[in-house]
Symmetry: C2
């Protein structure tokens, strides 16, 4: 019964899905995790297509991913994911990643809110659909640290860029995973060659749109730990607001 509530998705690292180090790209995996969320939620009746009938849409509030290693070209890996908890304004999803021997190679959590597409208000998940969502929960634990609070002190951006067409998702915002790509681009190739991204956390605050300026503020806590705050300056405004906050923890390769 519990097994039916856990989605299992096998993948293989395909050519053109690697980064320059030859490992599955962090951003490819990030988008796959979001896709698996949708597939598994869909199997329970809560995918994007299902929610549109309720005039509502899932919004990603937080994502953390921890990978002990990243598979390389042609290596198989599996994503296992389940609803872990349901609060009034948030639902929490857990992921376990395994290799083809079933050994855990990584883990992830996502936090989502369900909003009404017209009012943009969060929907009470505990009462939604007669409380049925609670029956989808699986009490399967993960060993993963809680995300930390990220506050960046850098007074000036390390990089600024304009959000463009290729940054956008179907909703017209900058795609969640594109922020990770832009933040990883703060590090040069020699750094990536020598460091594995063991863990990242991202929490989302404001949306950004095509033409917005994105400013990346970067605090290096030490060689391996980095906090990045991406602030958005909307098209015709001079003020900036926080779009997302990111924490990277690297390990030496």
């Amino acid at each position: 019964m519990k097994q039916n509530k856990i989605g299992h998705y096998p993948f293989v690292v395909e050519p053109f899905q690697e980064d320059v180090t030859g490992h599955l790209s962090t951003t490819v995996l990030g988008n796959l995790l979001l896709r698996c969320a949708n597939l598994q939620a869909g199997s329970m009746g809560y995918g994007y297509r299902d929610m549109i009938k309720y005039d509502s849409v899932w919004v990603l509030a937080r994502l953390q991913v921890e990978m002990d290693l990243m598979p390389t070209t042609h290596e198989p890996y599996n994503v296992h994911t389940w609803f872990y908890n349901c609060y009034r304004q948030f639902s929490e999803r857990h992921y376990r990643l395994t290799n083809d021997q079933g050994v855990e190679i990584g883990r992830a959590t996502t936090v989502w809110s369900l909003i009404n597409v017209h009012t943009r208000d969060a929907i009470d998940l505990t009462n939604f659909n007669d409380g049925h969502m609670n029956t989808c929960i699986v009490d399967e634990q993960l060993t993963i640290e809680k995300p930390l609070r990220v506050r960046v002190k850098a007074p000036t951006p390390a990089r600024s860029l304009e959000a463009r067409f290729s940054d956008l998702d179907i909703n017209g915002h900058v795609n969640s995973i594109r922020y990770i790509a832009h933040a990883l681009d703060l590090f040069d190739k020699p750094f990536h060659d020598k460091h594995h991204l063991h863990r990242y956390e991202i929490s989302f605050s404001a949306e950004s749109f095509c033409g917005d300026r994105l400013h990346l503020y970067h605090d290096a806590l030490d060689e391996l730990t980095h906090h990045i705050e991406i602030r958005v300056q909307h098209n015709d405004e001079s003020t900036e607001e926080v779009a997302c906050r990111i924490r990277f923890v690297f390990t030496p390769r």
Copy 2:
């Protein structure tokens, strides 16, 4: 017999594979076409993994893609691809894209050279492996225009950017399809909302690497036809050389 030499790859447009207009993203499809090339070549003994045994690697010289329409979320589509011709220094691959009723919705061609990884010299394909590659050819015609010669006259770049980590592929170059993404980013969201990219052609000249500056020179021949030349300025040099030339033909939506 002919059927065995044509690779058939069914896909569905997955959430997070769309662009802002809700259609399969041009860049997602571009990378899938390259992946299908590798899969089909692999089924004949000529994939990346096979060629490494000969100390050689396929290099994409040219790509053209023509899509009558782009599928939208959850829509199935099929990629059919085959070796179409083999010359001394180039092999040509054809693609037909169909919907789930088998109706042709697009077509593509790629031109590849096989180079020795040490000398970077092109390998004579007509004699390679005792001329066996010729037996893989399928004489299946496509109705697609020949690519045009692109020469860009714009004296200054419309945009310049630095090639970064997220632009790179496993070989350490800027990924072929990333040039298309950067070129599409020259057009704003309202333009993409109103125009479908009916056809693109790209030919590759020089490779670019992390830290290189990319300059996008842009000639708009008319509202729908655009030529873009991306010139690369390597890390510490003042001169520019052509990395690739692109032709876009849009149609009104």
